[in-house]
Symmetry: C2
Subunit: 735 residues, 2 copies
Amino acid sequence: KTTEVSESETLKSHPNLILTQESVAEIKAHLGSIPVFDATLAKVQEEVDLAIAEGIDVPIPKDMAGGYTHTQHKANYDHMQKAGVLFQLLGDEKYAIYIRDMLLEYAALFPTLGRHPQERSYSRGKFFWQCLNDSNWLVYTSQAYDCIYDWLPKEQSDHLNRTLFKPYADFLSVETPKFFNRVHNHSTWGNVAVGMIALVMDDDELLDRALYGLEDDNIDPNELDDDGGVIKDKDGKAGFFANLDSPFSPDGFYTEGPYYQRYAMYPFMIFAEALHNKKPELKIFEYKDGVLLKAVDALLNLTDADGEFFPLNDGQKGMSYYTASLVSAVDIAYYYGSQRPELLSVAKAQNKVQLDATGLAVAIGLKEGKEQPFIKKSMELTDGRNGDEGAVGILRHQDDNAAMTLVMKYTGQGLSHGHYDKLSFSLYEDGEEVLQDYGLSRFVNVEQKNGGGYLKENKTFAKHTIAHNTVIQDETSHFDYDFVTGSRHHSDRYVFDASNPQIQIMGAKEHNAYPNTSFHRTMVMVKDSTLAKPYIIDVFKVLSNTAHQYDLPYYYFGQIVATSFKTEAPKALEPLGTKNGYQHLWKEAESTANADHIQFTWLNNQIFYSITSATHAKDKVLLARTGANDPEFNLRRDPAMILRKENTASAVFASVIEPHGVYNAVSETADNAYSQFESVTVVLDEEAYTAIVLKMTSGASKLLILSNLDPNNETEHNLKIGANNYQWTGAYYFQ
Amino acid sequence: KTTEVSESETLKSHPNLILTQESVAEIKAHLGSIPVFDATLAKVQEEVDLAIAEGIDVPIPKDMAGGYTHTQHKANYDHMQKAGVLFQLLGDEKYAIYIRDMLLEYAALFPTLGRHPQERSYSRGKFFWQCLNDSNWLVYTSQAYDCIYDWLPKEQSDHLNRTLFKPYADFLSVETPKFFNRVHNHSTWGNVAVGMIALVMDDDELLDRALYGLEDDNIDPNELDDDGGVIKDKDGKAGFFANLDSPFSPDGFYTEGPYYQRYAMYPFMIFAEALHNKKPELKIFEYKDGVLLKAVDALLNLTDADGEFFPLNDGQKGMSYYTASLVSAVDIAYYYGSQRPELLSVAKAQNKVQLDATGLAVAIGLKEGKEQPFIKKSMELTDGRNGDEGAVGILRHQDDNAAMTLVMKYTGQGLSHGHYDKLSFSLYEDGEEVLQDYGLSRFVNVEQKNGGGYLKENKTFAKHTIAHNTVIQDETSHFDYDFVTGSRHHSDRYVFDASNPQIQIMGAKEHNAYPNTSFHRTMVMVKDSTLAKPYIIDVFKVLSNTAHQYDLPYYYFGQIVATSFKTEAPKALEPLGTKNGYQHLWKEAESTANADHIQFTWLNNQIFYSITSATHAKDKVLLARTGANDPEFNLRRDPAMILRKENTASAVFASVIEPHGVYNAVSETADNAYSQFESVTVVLDEEAYTAIVLKMTSGASKLLILSNLDPNNETEHNLKIGANNYQWTGAYYFQ
Ligand SMILES: [Ca+2]
Ligand SMILES: [Ca+2]
Ligand SMILES: [Ca+2]
Ligand SMILES: [Mg+2]
Ligand SMILES: [Mg+2]
Ligand SMILES: [Mg+2]
Ligand SMILES: [Mg+2]
């Protein structure tokens, strides 16, 4: 009898992974009175009913991403996960039957399969060409399985555990250690897949493997993956906790960048929810000072005004917090965090919720009108597991005239998806790119473009330094484009101070991008009360022990309105160089500054912008455009203005970047089409200080002095420039 | 005593031009209860109060467009016109005083002036560099003057008439006959300027001059203006009625194109309103079967889904029916037409009204919620004063999946702003250009770009045939780019039938673009019930008596996804040619079709499009981009796919153009990324018939047979193709 009781307790224990018996009861009590939840549920039901009507299709694996069998297996796990929710919330057995029948087909298929016939991955899967997708399958399917576990006769669940799920978990882990035992977003999926099914099957050995990795993996520490990343973590750790420890900084920044963070957030958050439900003793949401909740906040802040992620490292433009994994992440962060009303406004924009207790809480919050605007503020998000491997700095200004966002990257390499872009930046106005980071070169899931995979131009251009708004020495990328070297180093934050909304400053140094060469870039966002919009001061100080060529590109958009330098039309367009991405740029013009400053004005999105830059008379200005040596037209044809200083050991690139006017095509008026700056001059450049004078067309003039060696905001400085003495406290003087 | 009564009657007669004593009383009775009117008035008051606070400034004329004196004189007439309205509607004398004081300054300045010091115009003005702007001044200022005429002591109005207005009217007409006695939008402004002030001063001789032109102008019939247009009308007519007769077709299409029609609508409509008020016996709104009211309707139909005008001929993109002249035109058309509720919905979008009886009527209509959607339908708008000089054809399809608009131009030359673009077309989806007409090369009022005037690239590229989606023979533009030749001819409509929403067809012929060569283009918009969006069949038949090279460009936007032909990356980019606009195109790739059809797929605005085209194996496909030989970066960098047939007397370009899929960057899904067409084949091409087979990927196949010589929709045809016999009635067979 004791046995029977315990058996019946076991029978009643599911669902207990994401949905629980308590949350199901609570949701059922609210159904019909929680608009966002009800609407999401109705859509899901419609979708699954359609899938059920079309019938079960579990094809023999054959195709690459985008192909038929790939797409079908993807649809299957998605439909099963949703059917599980519907079965629990609506109680209609047809959903359970659908899952059961499909799982039985998978259980019949699985033992017949070797590795997937497509051979492009270093970790080929079963149902898919790579284990990553198989892990996706298991993360979703585990949830469906949990929802019908108690409903299934025990012999069927035993059969599935034995024939499908346990072997599948072993396949993804012990049989594919290079995939499983890494610190990488793919491995996170692998760990979570094994962990989720472990929780469903109550298999503690499997759970241990998921949390802490395989003890012995026999991985060669120099082995690389398809993307050129090293397999083996430098600390030798693996498993879910290692993937939580290492790529996340204490601020919740994920070193691969927001695009991959977005992708990884789903397994991180959904497994955390499952662990919270089944292993509350792990206090997973408090782990590393609540890093998972901070990660959601970090990710929401790494977006432009449209909610689109900054395309740092490999990131496809257009991906935004409207994506499904962020719906899940926001709901989970709201529920397991402190129910911050700012998150509700994001959820409101998303207009759907996760169909569990977290989504219920969000839907109730929204129904009660509790949302508050999510206001993105200036902030620095440190990189590195201890937060001491550089950072991403974000300066923002928002008022009725403009929303400007300046993003500067002074992080570590960012694992295999990292770009060679030390101290690069991008600038946004109102959700539009003003000065861009190219992003990745890939059309995800567009089959005609290399099966939707990375294009070769990602490696030959997009990752290279010249694809970024930062300094390139001698037409060679940072770290000589060597991943191992790049991974050994990180930039160092120098100053970040957004406390004065009129003068926000950030700066960083990089000592390892080139041998015997150091970089120090400072970016200041100034909101002058006499000007409608903020302007940016960009001071890039380079110091080397030998003479070099230095290029600093600005990737603008739109049409050139005026240049202070004379441009000539070449008879034929030649590539700008032969390697390191230069071979992909056409040289549209090559000019000499011929003056102590240059000015460059362009028009984009009906807004006039200018860059005014201090120069030596012999400095060059190159106008370039991507697209050379691109037979398949994989690259966009985007323009850049490149400042070039030749044959010099040290250099200061000092510029002002400003939006200054508006064109109206309907009234045909050009308001403030001219730059508000007359000139930018470097009046002093020493080891300890660099001083810049900005002359404005109004006649006003500004002096910026940067302390190059001591950013402490309590240090007192005293500096003589010409006849004048300047005294101030802190990292900079600006008047 | 009789004299006194008549004097007092005279005193009470103003305003009687645009505002009348009756309309002023009626408006005053409604103020505060007509939201759009009240809001417009409040904004105008705010603007004028600010101008009054800044004080009167009537500088000595000196600058070009965009410069200080130009801008100030423009602001002056604008503020005076508005102040006149405010004086009448609000009764505050400060507005009358402002106008009076400013007019007295102008009256003091005028006699001291010779022609404007800037020498760029063939018709230099007084306050402005060209008489056009002086005419603008007088059209607006006449309205202000009318509003204070009765308020002014008679000696002041006599003084202004004698010192300023009468001499100014003479200056614009008898002293500048080349400007005044033309058929051209500039002259319309001149005629209306003289006519408006004539009506205010009750000067019938002046009015006659305005309406019918100068009797003797001594203009050399071969003389050209700044734009290369002939001055003298071919029929020798001049004046307002000539400008109404000749450029407008009976459908209300204005031969210069919608951009200039928009500009001319203000003087046409405002003068018509004035004539209606003061010379109702002219029945101006009934003139030429109500052509002015039809013109407003034509113009509203010559827009994309955003209300932006098709950039036919010289037209700046972005100009739309939100412009002030269209606010005026829509209100006037509503009031003097049949109060069509469709016009109210346009006025509602414009969200402002003209501050007179017409705007009052619109505001009341809107307040009463009478508006109905303005649904743009497929239509043909004839060109030529008698409607027999070709036409613009517009095919539209709109449903929940897509709004597609196809615009084909088979008009006359379009006066001096005409482009050499016979049988060209452009395609829109949802207000975005899919296949573009380049438009003009100019940044209106952007001073850095040639003072805001036309750029040289307008003549060297934008007007040339290669800038358009039509056939070019031997790299030479239509009519050998000769304006006089082009003006002697027009294309001929052949068929236009939009009666079947599933199969809409238009076609035209052109016999004069090249010697001994004829063009026949047919465009069909097909809505297949099995496809989500309509597709376009484009059949361009060329016939010559000798062998030539034929190019047909398609100016797409965005990024190439796939090409059936092999593309190679050139080592250096060379211009596509040396003249006729070809020198401005970079040749990015040159391929050989190597097959009996080519396919070209691209992605723009997250939509997949394809062109599938029948080819001979030796046909070439060129990928090109504007921007060569453009030292000042005046041209946009826009791409084109060019089909080239070499060394052939006759040719048929037969293509299908289709939107077929959607990319979603958030879900990263590519739905229907592949063309729905397998191939396009010309199965028969004879003098009388051309037959095209479209094979779809679904396996379905369509046959289009065009009757090339007889478009009559009652003619019975009988044709054998291969083994099959086809019988049908009308211009085409499609099955
Ligand atoms: Ca954006
Ligand atoms: Ca548009
Ligand atoms: Ca847009
Ligand atoms: Mg990058
Ligand atoms: Mg460190
Ligand atoms: Mg054109
Ligand atoms: Mg004719």
